[in-house]
Symmetry: C2
Subunit: 115 residues, 2 copies
DNA sequence: CTTTCATATGAATCTCTATTCATATGATAA
DNA sequence: TTATCATATGAATAGAGATTCATATGAAAG
């Protein structure tokens, strides 16, 4: 009611269809995981093969610590998982939605070429 | 070569398959757009119907200015577009990938219920 | 058991970004 | 033309998050 012209009907209708705040937050949080270049590179690397932490660090030319921190975030979100092998930790994709979601983004970018 | 154990072969292989830095950055930037609750709510609202700025502001109970700023970001990214109608600006979805991408995220959330 | 290697983690820093406030723009109505 | 409404926008602020540094943990080798 802050403005003069009326659209209360549209608002009521859209509100009815809108998912819960909690779900919308969760959705934002999910996509936030993909919204960082480092995490994107990590995920893309794991598309090809499972990798240990220092391999990813070398691959991306970044510090091991930075990679570990990001892997923790991805692991907490259950997008990746890891297993021990000797004293290395080998990470791999834990969810195939990752491929689908990133694939959709990829399509969007490669189709709409005019920018 | 910062570590002792060797995985240069894996690194070479993965590097070969990895998209360019530019594409990976663009992908990150794209998903960053979905990684914010306010933008997510705006996009979800536009799923249902085209809306003017102040309708979105009322709907989300946020300031008009905040909404305008976010709409600009979405518009620059060509995810939404707008048309003039009198003195109101009516925004609508400009790209159907938006629905697909968010839909995939939605599925991921609603399927994996254990958290 | 001590040393070394691979990884994890806490704290600090720095950057990025979302929101707010104030104001500008642009269109319509009077 | 002037007043009003709808939106846009620049600057400032505040908060979140990514990286680094130093260090802790944990496993294996000697």
């Amino acid at each position: 009611m802050a403005h003069k012209h009326d659209h209360s009907q549209a608002i009521i209708e859209v509100t009815r269809q809108l998912p819960s705040d909690e779900l919308l937050c969760d959705l934002g949080d999910l996509f936030k995981l993909f919204g960082d270049t480092t995490r994107m590179k990590i995920l893309y690397s794991l598309f090809e093969s499972e990798l240990c932490v220092c391999a990813i660090a070398e691959l991306l030319k970044m510090e091991q610590s930075a990679i570990s921190h990001q892997l923790k975030i991805l692991k907490d979100a259950k997008l990746v998982a890891c297993r021990r092998s000797g004293r290395t930790n080998i990470y791999f994709l834990a969810d195939d939605h990752v491929r689908t979601i990133i694939g959709q983004g990829y399509e969007h970018l490669t189709e709409g070429k005019e920018d």
